[in-house]
């Protein structure tokens, strides 16, 4: 707690006027950051007239843009979130489920009706841990360099490798 109030340059009493605890403070940051990321991605891929691959491309670009724009906040949420312990679990599930819901909006359009209902959550979960380790490496260009691969991993299960290759070159 001493480190937090010192780096924020606020008195301890002032801190507790806003937050009940360190954990409460972290959750405020986590909720704000994840809601903003979800809103950015949703807006980017929600425009009219975009087909499924284009929505995915735009969504991934928006997500990486959010992560790049405030790397400290990205690290706090993606790296430190799972380190909080059981208290973060519902938020983590909600985060994965929300992004999976955006990906699921392409269902049917992509001709993937035979796939299990949970594939989108599984795909998004894999992307989360790729980003986790990219942020852990602390290489500034690492996140942006993942764009093409994240698009591919998000599309291939639904439209196949050939169509994904065509979409990536679009």
């Amino acid at each position: 707690m001493a480190d937090i109030v010192r780096s924020a340059a606020v008195a301890r009493g002032r801190f507790y006027e806003h937050f009940a605890s360190k954990e409460d403070c972290f959750f405020a940051l986590y909720d704000d950051a994840t809601a903003a990321a979800l809103a950015s991605v949703s807006e980017a891929c929600g425009g009219p007239g975009y087909d499924f691959p284009e929505r995915v491309r735009r969504g991934i670009s928006a997500l990486l843009g959010v992560l790049e724009s405030d790397r400290d906040r990205a690290r706090a949420c993606i790296l430190e979130g799972p380190a909080v312990g059981p208290a973060i679990n519902d938020r983590f599930e909600h985060l994965i489920g929300s992004f999976a819901g955006l990906l699921r909006s392409g269902r049917g359009e992509a001709g993937d009706s035979e796939l299990p209902e949970t594939v989108e959550e599984t795909v998004v979960g894999g992307l989360y841990w790729l980003l986790y380790y990219a942020l852990l490496e602390e290489r500034p260009k690492r996140i942006a360099s993942l764009r093409s691969q994240l698009v591919e991993f998000s599309l291939t299960p639904f439209i196949g490798a050939e169509a994904t290759g065509a979409a990536k070159g679009h």
Binding site: P82, A83, G85, P86, N89, F92, E93, I96, E114, L115, P116, T118, V119, T122, V123, G125, G126, L127, Y128, W129, L130, Y133, L136, L146, Q149, F153, T156, P157, G160, A161
Partner: protein, 170 residues
């Protein structure tokens, strides 16, 4: 008393502290070695990559379901430890990535599929195991295995080969 039980009893009251690192490392090394022994035994066949991958994936999900505290330690509780836990997870992940990436040795054009594909597949498996470990209401991994196999196989061998995994028996 097992190394894991000793560690868990030590951190139960006040959580992890630096003084617990030797206990964490002892428990990690014991469980990691046991897991890798089982995996290497499972994949020790002359079969193709796909058969080895299926055998390793099957062994992993069966171990997680049969040994939940140990799986929770390796996936979720290691993240609570901070850099030491992350480094251990990263090293184990790299070994699993190398096993998955060996798929490229059987492809006519191995360079068309980057190594990061294996990182994504390992991330997909890790995410499902992690979420199963932090939330008992998540689907049993044995039910998720066809979907996980679909994603892994289709990434290397194409969608048609991946779809076959959706109807393969455990």
């Amino acid at each position: 008393m097992s190394a894991l039980r000793t560690y868990l009893e030590e951190v139960r009251e006040g959580g992890y502290e630096d003084k617990h690192e030797p206990l964490f490392v002892a428990a990690w090394e014991h469980l990691e070695a046991a897991y890798l022994d089982r995996i290497f035994a499972a994949i020790a066949t002359d079969g193709e990559w796909r058969d080895r991958f299926r055998a390793g994936a099957r062994e992993t999900v069966l171990l997680v379901e049969a040994h939940r505290p140990e799986a929770r330690f390796l996936t979720a509780e290691a993240l609570l430890v901070g850099p030491v836990g992350r480094a251990r997870q990263r090293a184990l992940g790299d070994r699993l990535i190398a096993l998955v990436d060996s798929a490229r040795e059987e492809l006519e054009e191995p360079d068309l599929i980057p190594r990061i594909t294996a990182g994504w597949i390992v991330g997909v498996f890790f995410d499902r195991i992690y979420r199963r470990c932090i939330n008992d209401s998540e689907p049993e991994l044995t039910r998720q295995l066809p979907e996980l196999m679909f994603l892994g196989v289709s990434a290397y061998l194409g969608t048609r080969a991946g779809m076959e995994e959706l109807s393969s028996p455990l």
